[in-house]
Every structure is written in structure tokens, then in C-alpha cells.
């Protein structure tokens, strides 16, 4: 037995034989053709055949709900029908009497090199797509049948240097158990594809995986980032048992999704959903969400040429409020800037967008953007308790300015004779260390806090978790982050204010004992993890977890915290 360590790219466990994926570069002899007209006809027919096969694969991917893969395959089919590519191939055949194979490879390679030279990671991936389509045409021209995936005739774990959508399209989806790549990171294309396919994946496992013989028994642990070779029978049994247990746990959790999450000592946890589209409403309700703890309103602003109008926003908020009846919905005002830019705002590029004009900073600077949202929220919240939350706060003055805007909008609506929410709760996201450190001052200005652990972690640790080089530094279990969280909770509770948590940590079943021990009042998470989180909470004894939290706060290393917390997990 041997264990290889990589980066967790998509959670889940796969058990099965190895399938080394190798891209075949079909070999051909560079030669002149006897009759250019006949040769061009042969080339044109091969291009059309390969395009038809790609279109069929695109339709299959679309029918399986694989939007991303379908888009890439459709784009590839269009490349084979590209007037410029066809011209280049025809010219090479007709004017230089080249064989179709050479004419096509040359033309495709020129485009691939051009795209690579643009120094853009998306376009570099398209260069791989161009080379892949050329291989597909060569297959047709040479009458080859040994496609890269032809030997995949049983369910297996796919091993490759890296996998693009176009590579995966060579493989039969029914036989893909999971992916392990030598290179790449959790943010790489393979990782995104694996998550879209719902398959476990490990990235960056090193070149050694490329030497694993076909059919070697493997266990791929996507959650831990491990690939186990020739596992011992006991390891096999343990993984199989864990898999079965996870299945039955998830079925059990789903069965109780709509029941409250009450700890063994009788504390009822509020478990809410993060929502980023109206379309996600049904999933949130079905998962047993007791409200929306974070309504990311950015979805109304993206993918369009102008900002949404007040009325448009009013209708969207109204639909969401109505769906949740008298349950709590926390509306977060526009959190643009950072990595989320809106071209129609015509903001000048910033050297460091995460430390720039984002969140509330931007809204306060742009009343014409801020006011329609506040007015829409107030109108939609009429007759119910409206909870509104401001993102990216670092100073008391910002909260006061935002509240003043909100009050002005409310007065204006009343003066216009329009209904406006009267019962109002105002909160802020705590995601910058500055906000956490002055939580006592901020608590005096607001009704609640919501801790955004993703940003709080990256700002506190000065590490971008999507950057594979430093991702391991960006752990929410770092004592620096935990101390800030504890400080926020203590300061808020002293003034009788509620503390919610809406980052990824809040939905992590392993972190729940720690969060309850620290005294988090409300948890908001992705709908998919709600049933399991509720089930975990039901097994916990909250009063006993305070000492666990104290123990974690005393540790010096994130890994030590992780070990302590794991041991406490049910």
C-alpha cells in the first residue's frame, strides 16, 4: 500500500481500478498529395465528420446537465467549421499540395500557438481545445479506432497530467468514478468539472501518478486529497464502511431536514440558507432552511448592461420574502468590487481590488446605485420584519452613514405615500479584522453581526485561498481567526446582540462543535449541507462544547485545532 498526497479538489470517495488517460497524438507521414482537389474533398469530409461527432457529444453533455462541458464541446464543433481554419487548410492543400493531415495540423497548431501567446489562462485552455479538435480530425482522416478512452470499459479512476472538458469528452461518463491529476489546483478546470459532474477529485498529486499501471486497485479520497495505491484489505473495508455510513447518514438527515435542530441539552439552533438567486429558493426550502441568513443580491446586478431598477429589485425581493413567509430573510446590500466587478459602473481598475472600493464603501460613494436598492428593500419589506445587512465595514462612521441613507430612503417613501418597512433590523458583515477588533463599538450601532469566515480568513491571514501557492495558509482554523471570532461574539453578547455566521465554515459539519462552543447564535450555509448540519447539531451537547472552544483558542497551530475539532466531531 502506498499513499500519495494532493490537493482536495472535489469531495467524495471513489474505489476502483486505475485508468491512465493518455492523449494520443496520431502519427502520420508528412507528404504531398497527388490530386489537391481530391485531397481537399477528403479533408473537408473529415472535418465535417469530426464536427458532427463533437456536436453529438455536446448534446449528450447538455442532456446530462453538464453545461460547462457542453459549452466547450459546442465551441470545439464550431472551430471545425471555422471559415478561417477551412481557408487555411484548403490553401495549404491547393497551393502547396500538402496532404490533409499535415495541412490541418499546421493550421490548428498556428491558432493554438497564437492563443497561448496571449498569456491568459482561459485562452491557454482554449489552445488545448484547438489541439484536441485537430486530433479528432486526424483520427477520422487516418481511420483510427483506438481513441484515448476506448479502453475504458469498466468503472475506473481516471489518472492524467491534467484534464480538460475536451479530454473528458473522449470518456464514457458511465465509467468515470473520479479524477486524479498530476498538476492543477482546487481552482483548476478539472476541479470545476469534477464538482459539476459530482465526482471526487484530487489535483496536484505529482507526476508519480502517471506511472501507475492500469487496473491498479485505488482509493481516491477527494475530501482529504489522497490517492491510495494497492490499499490494504483493512483500509478497503474501512473506506467501504465509511461510504455506506455516509450514505445512510445523508438519507437519515434528509428524512429529518424539516425538523428543528435541537442540541441534546435543548438549545435550538437556527439553521438558514445562503441564497444567490431566485432559482435557488426551491432548493433552500426543500433542504429545510429556516430562513435566508445571507441573500446575496449581486445576482440582480451581474450579467447585464445597466444596474437593475428599483422596481425590478422590489419584485425580486418580494418574491423571496413571500416564499419564506414570516421566517427571517437577511438581505445583504450590493457587495460589488473585489473580484466582482460591474462594467457599467465604469470603475477604474484598482491595483488591489480586495483592498479597494468594494461592498459598502462603493455604495456610500455611489448613492445613485445604493438608494434604489434600499428603497426596493424597504418597499418589499413592508408589513414584515426587514433585516438588512451591509458588507465590508471597517469603521463606525460607515455604519452611521449607511443607516442615515436607509432612514432617508424610508422617509422619502413615506412622503411619497408608498408602503415601507417599519420594523427594521440592521446588521453588518464582519469580514475585515478591523471590524472584529472594534466589535464592541460596532455592536452599539447595529442589531446583529454576521461573520463572513471566507473573507475574514483571507484578510486576517493575508492569504488568498484560491491561490494554490498559499491556499494552505488560509485556514479558518488558524488561532488568529478563531480569536477574532470569539472577540466578536463576546462583544456582541455583552450588548445583547445576535451573532450569525455565513461563511463556508458555518456549513462544515466538522466545524460545528467548535462554532457552537464559541457561542455562534445562527448558522447560514449552502442549502445542500443543511440537512447534514442539522443532524450533526442534534448529536451535540452545547454546554459541554465551551471547553472544546477554550481548548482550541489556546492552541498555536491550525493543524492542532483541526485535530482537536475532528476528535470532537460525532
Amino acid at each position: 500500500m502506498k499513499t500519495l498526497r494532493g490537493v482536495p479538489a472535489s469531495a467524495g470517495v471513489a474505489i476502483g481500478p486505475a485508468f491512465p488517460f493518455r492523449r494520443l497524438t496520431p502519427r502520420f507521414e508528412r507528404q504531398r498529395c497527388a490530386d489537391p482537389a481530391v485531397e481537399w474533398a477528403r479533408g473537408e469530409a473529415a472535418l465535417a465528420t469530426a464536427a458532427a461527432r463533437l456536436t453529438a457529444l455536446a448534446i449528450r453533455a447538455r442532456d446530462q446537465g453538464l453545461a460547462q462541458q457542453a459549452a466547450v464541446l459546442q465551441a470545439q464543433a464550431l472551430m471545425l467549421d471555422d471559415p478561417e481554419l477551412l481557408d487555411a487548410v484548403r490553401t495549404a492543400i491547393e497551393e502547396h499540395a500538402l496532404c490533409a493531415e499535415a495541412a490541418l495540423s499546421d493550421a490548428a497548431e498556428r491558432y493554438a500557438e497564437l492563443l497561448e501567446a496571449l498569456d491568459d489562462q482561459y485562452l491557454a485552455a482554449r489552445a488545448a481545445d484547438v489541439r484536441d479538435v485537430a486530433r479528432r480530425v486526424l483520427h477520422v482522416l487516418l481511420g483510427l479506432t483506438d481513441a484515448p478512452g476506448a479502453n475504458l470499459t469498466q468503472p475506473a479512476i481516471i489518472l492524467a497530467d491534467d484534464l480538460a472538458s475536451s479530454d473528458i469528452a473522449w470518456l464514457d461518463p458511465a465509467f468515470m468514478l473520479g479524477f486524479c491529476t498530476a498538476g492543477g489546483s482546487a481552482a483548476s478546470h478539472t476541479a470545476i468539472l469534477a464538482r459539476e459532474l459530482g465526482l471526487p477529485a484530487v489535483a496536484g498529486a505529482g507526476a508519480e501518478i502517471l506511472r501507475i499501471p492500469a487496473d491498479t486497485p485505488l482509493i481516491l479520497d477527494g475530501g482529504e486529497g489522497l490517492l491510495l495505491l494497492d490499499p490494504a484489505p483493512a483500509t478497503f473495508a474501512a473506506y467501504e464502511a465509511a461510504g455506506l455510513a455516509a450514505q445512510s447518514r445523508s438519507a437519515e438527515a434528509q428524512a429529518h431536514a424539516h425538523e428543528p435542530a435541537v442540541t441534546r441539552d435543548g438549545w435550538r439552533a437556527a439553521v438558514l440558507a445562503n441564497l444567490s438567486s431566485v432559482a435557488g429558493l426551491q432548493a433552500a426550502l426543500a433542504a429545510g432552511a429556516e430562513g435566508i441568513g445571507l441573500l446575496r443580491t449581486e445576482f440582480l446586478y451581474f450579467e447585464r448592461a445597466t444596474a437593475p431598477t428599483e422596481d425590478e429589485q422590489y419584485l425580486a425581493y418580494r418574491a423571496i420574502f413571500d416564499a419564506f413567509g414570516d421566517r427571517s430573510v437577511v438581505l445583504r446590500t450590493l457587495d460589488a468590487g473585489g473580484d466582482k466587478t460591474l462594467p457599467y459602473l465604469r470603475l477604474p481598475p484598482e491595483p488591489n481590488p480586495f483592498l479597494g472600493l468594494r461592498g459598502l464603501r462603493l455604495c456610500l460613494r455611489r448613492p445613485e446605485l445604493f438608494r434604489p436598492q434600499l428603497r426596493a428593500a424597504l418597499r418589499a419589506g413592508a408589513g414584515r420584519r426587514l433585516k438588512i445587512m451591509f458588507p465590508m465595514v471597517t469603521a463606525v462612521a460607515e455604519v452611521r452613514a449607511a443607516r442615515a441613507e436607509l432612514e432617508n430612503c424610508r422617509r422619502a417613501l413615506v412622503a411619497e405615500g408608498l408602503p415601507a418597512a417599519e420594523r427594521l433590523e440592521v446588521g453588518i458583515m464582519v469580514e475585515a479584522p478591523a471590524a472584529a477588533l472594534i466589535a464592541d463599538h460596532l455592536a452599539a450601532e447595529v442589531d446583529f453581526f454576521s461573520i463572513g469566515t471566507n473573507d475574514l480568513t483571507q484578510y486576517t491571514l493575508a492569504a488568498d485561498r484560491t491561490n494554490a501557492e498559499v491556499a494552505d495558509l488560509a485556514s479558518a482554523y488558524h488561532p488568529a481567526v478563531l480569536r477574532l471570532v470569539q472577540g466578536v461574539i463576546v462583544a456582541a453578547h455583552r450588548q445583547g446582540k445576535l451573532v450569525a455566521m455565513c461563511g463556508e465554515l458555518a456549513g462544515d459539519p466538522t466545524a460545528l462543535p467548535l462554532l457552537l462552543g464559541l457561542g455562534v447564535d445562527e448558522l447560514s450555509m449552502a442549502p445542500a449541507v443543511i440537512p447534514l448540519a442539522k443532524q450533526v447539531i442534534r448529536t451535540l451537547d452545547r454546554s459541554a462544547l465551551r471547553s472544546l472552544a477554550q481548548g482550541a483558542l489556546a492552541l498555536s497551530e491550525p493543524d492542532a485545532v483541526r485535530v482537536l475539532v475532528r476528535a470532537a466531531a460525532p
Binding site: A71, A75, E84, L85, L118, L123, R126, E303, Y344
Partner: protein, 89 residues
Amino acid sequence: MPQITLTILNRAGLHARAAAWLARTARQFRSDITVLHGERQASAKSILSLLGLGAGQGALITLRAEGEDADRALQALGRLASHDLEAGV
């Protein structure tokens, strides 16, 4: 010659999905349609040359059409600004 200027809103820029849509739509018209981005230019009907523009998010592109259905073509292609933009991951 009629022309319009668009901003690429898509986070990934004018790449696979958006370029495919542009090329497919352009091919429905008889006019010659040229896309300009900075000093580079491409045929709107060629996905490979569109990708070669390297137009990232926020890039300004100008579409120029010449032919009998030039106005209708630009009207259709102008929808790119609101079409099929991949939401951020």
C-alpha cells in the same frame, strides 16, 4: 458603415461560450462582420480569430458590418452584451 461598441461583461472575457455565440449568430447574416479590439481585428464568423482577440472582461470591442443585412446583423449581435454571460464561480 454601421458599427456598434460593446463592453465584454463576462468574467471569462470573450471566450468559449460568448465567442461561440457571437460566431454562430454572425453566420446567420450575409454581411461581412469585423470585430475590432485595440489594434487587433477578427472576423465575427470565425470563433478562432475571435478567441485570438484576447478580449478579457471589461474590454471594449467594436463590431462593424458591411452588406445588405448589416443593420439587422448589428442589432442581433448587440445582444451579446446581455447574452450568455458565465456567472462567476
